[in-house]
């Protein structure tokens, strides 16, 4: 048994490709998702078309620039320049103040600002637009209270629970944990077992006095350990690189993760019993599992907005349930009372996969 586990580590460390997958993936994925794929906006380049050039428009412009979200790329002079500056791709937004802005505001009590956005990336355009609106309306409120022109309207202030700064890394970390645990556990186990089948060493193991269960535990142990190390690495990265704390119980998070790792390993064994070659095992775990995991688990796209059929499909994704659990613990800080159902579902899936693979394994032995 000890010899077996040692041997398994030899395999992992000798094969630089598995090493890269095992240790490179978590780092790259967390950093990529955390830094590159972000919904937060900073340093958005804008242009101003100020047809009025008075005190008020100047103040609003200053507000926008000093907010930290925007960089003033250019002041443009005519309507015709708008098209040009967008085509050149220099800015994402043009803010247009109408002529006689300050005067109209004073006399008529209202003036118009037009926001023109590059919506080739609709999400970003939406966010930029709401940020700009936010800055301008806070200025107008200020102005109203100063001059007390008209009674100050109702001030709507929204607070974002669980992720006050709407950091996208908060949303990605639970997803990355899920995907990586699944990738490492399921794919690596299924590949390493099919490799032994392909090489013929599986036969040698089966005729040895090792019991099948010992072979499986020997295979699975190193990957459990590695998945666990990966989990810790991701949590540390989240904590110290992205300043994302774990709101709930860390021990509970680790226990739930171990359960999920166990499930993934069982799934990996099941895949290895039905695939004949390493390639087959890899394709099965990559495409049959990874893509649906990313797309249907609610990791990036909310499940609630999907067509009913896909929503039902998402129920059989183990990752969906685990993401709910991780989000609960990491963001909301809730306890087991709030996700015992999800935990039970994963437990049931684990037992199902173990049962299935034992059955398949036996059939193959006959």
């Amino acid at each position: 048994m000890k010899a077996f586990i040692k041997k398994e580590f030899f395999h992992i460390f000798r094969d630089y490709r598995s090493m890269v997958i095992l240790f490179g993936m978590p780092l790259v994925m967390v950093l990529l998702f955390g830094f590159a794929i972000t919904n937060d906006i900073t340093n958005v380049r804008i242009a101003i078309l100020d047809n009025s050039k008075d005190v008020v428009t100047n103040q609003i412009t200053q507000k926008l620039i000093s907010s930290g979200y925007f960089i003033l790329e250019d002041n443009i002079e005519s309507q015709n320049d708008i098209e040009k500056i967008f085509t050149e791709g220099r800015v994402k937004e043009v803010v247009v103040f109408e002529a006689d802005f300050a005067r109209k505001l004073k006399t008529e009590g209202k003036a118009h600002v037009q926001l023109i956005l590059d919506a080739s990336d609709p999400n970003t355009a939406n966010i930029i637009s709401s940020y700009t609106t936010g800055v301008i309306s806070s200025y107008s409120l200020e102005l109203m209270s100063q001059t007390s022109m008209i009674p100050v309207k109702i001030n709507i202030e929204s607070r974002m629970y669980y992720n006050p700064e709407l950091k996208s890394v908060y949303m990605f970390v639970p997803g990355i944990i899920t995907i990586l645990l699944m990738l490492v556990s399921t794919m690596m186990t299924s590949i390493s077992i099919t490799r032994e089948k392909e090489m013929g060493t599986m036969e040698a193991l089966l005729v040895s006095p090792l019991k099948p269960i010992q072979i499986i535990i020997g295979k699975v142990m190193p990957y459990t350990l590695l998945s666990f190390i990966n989990l810790i690495v991701i949590l540390l990265l989240a904590r110290f690189v992205f300043m994302m704390p774990v709101a709930g119980n860390l021990v509970l998070l680790i226990v739930e993760s171990l359960l999920f790792i166990l499930m993934s390993l069982a799934l990996g064994i099941l895949i290895s019993t039905i695939s004949k070659t390493q390639q087959q095992a890899m394709l099965l775990s990559m495409f049959a599992l990874m893509l649906p995991t990313i797309l249907l688990s609610g990791f990036i796209f909310p499940v609630e907005n999907m067509p009913i059929l896909l929503q039902y499909l998402s129920h059989i994704m183990p990752s969906k349930w685990f993401i709910i659990i991780v989000k609960n613990i990491m963001l909301k800080g809730t306890g087991i009372l709030y996700f015992w159902k999800e935990t039970l579902i994963i437990l049931a899936m684990t037992l199902f996969f173990i049962g299935m693979s034992v059955k398949k394994f036996k059939i193959r032995l006959e």
Binding site: A3, K6, K7, M199, T201, S208, P209, K211
Partner: protein, 243 residues
């Protein structure tokens, strides 16, 4: 012959997969220290029979006793007392020679000291001491086969099963391989070997030839040749396999 101890006893062994009968009522004995050739065309039922004898799959009916244990009742006792080397190469290509010995010694429950002693013994014997720390993928196939055989008998099994051990190996290495087999048979290890090379069949003490799940002939190569009135094992084989 009759006063030698039996190490494998097979009686009316039947193995069925659904309606297909892979082994039809096999009965034979193999004696201690014997080199027993187990021949048959592809699909004749050799592999299925070997799997039963190794305790990998239970017989549908009948009895098989290997190294003193009933394979159906005590497959693990059987496994601990046999060695096995398959046509597919059974060592790990990404580990060194030493690590392979250590691994297989480990799973057969040898102590550290035993493993070290055995490793030294085999490497010296094969004149491969220089390859101790070489990763297996860099070693030629013939050498690997000899290593695989050594690994298969690292725990001094009573019987060693060799399933087409010399496939794809050059004639000189095959020759050396058979010298190893003889040497171990002399020491009392029973060798149960399948092969497609008929010259190798001549090296066996007794040979059984299977066809369509049944044992059609079982005798010494010399007796088989005279019974069928031919000059070589090749002709014996062709006569039986063609029915």
């Amino acid at each position: 012959m009759l006063n030698r101890a039996k190490i494998i006893e097979v009686e009316n062994l039947v193995k069925k997969f659904g309606s297909f009968t892979a082994n039809d009522n096999l009965t034979f004995d193999v004696y201690k220290g014997e080199i027993f050739g187990f021949l048959g065309a592809n699909g004749a039922g050799k592999t299925s029979a070997i799997r039963i004898l190794c305790g990998l799959s239970p017989p549908t009916s009948g009895k098989a006793i290997v190294a003193g244990y009933d394979v159906a009742k005590y497959p693990n006792k059987v496994k601990a007392n046999i060695g096995y080397m398959s046509q597919k190469f059974s060592l790990y290509n990404d580990m060194t020679v030493k690590e392979n010995f250590r691994f297989y010694g480990g799973i057969y429950g040898l102590s550290k000291k035993q493993i070290v002693d055995k490793t030294n013994y085999f490497l010296e014997k094969l004149e491969m001491e220089k390859t101790r720390n070489v990763v297996l993928s860099e070693i030629p196939l013939g050498w690997k086969q000899k290593l695989a055989f050594s690994v298969a008998i690292i725990h001094d099994p009573k019987v060693v099963f060799l399933d087409e051990p010399t496939g794809g190996v050059d004639p000189i290495t095959r020759r050396q391989f058979w010298e190893m087999i003889y040497e171990n048979a002399d020491k009392g290890t029973t060798v149960f070997v399948t092969t497609h090379y008929m010259d190798e069949a001549e090296y066996c003490e007794r040979v059984s030839i299977m066809s369509e799940g049944k044992i059609e002939a079982l005798d010494t190569p010399a007796n088989l040749k005279s019974t069928y009135g031919v000059n070589s094992m090749n002709d014996v084989f062709i006569k039986i396999a063609r029915g």
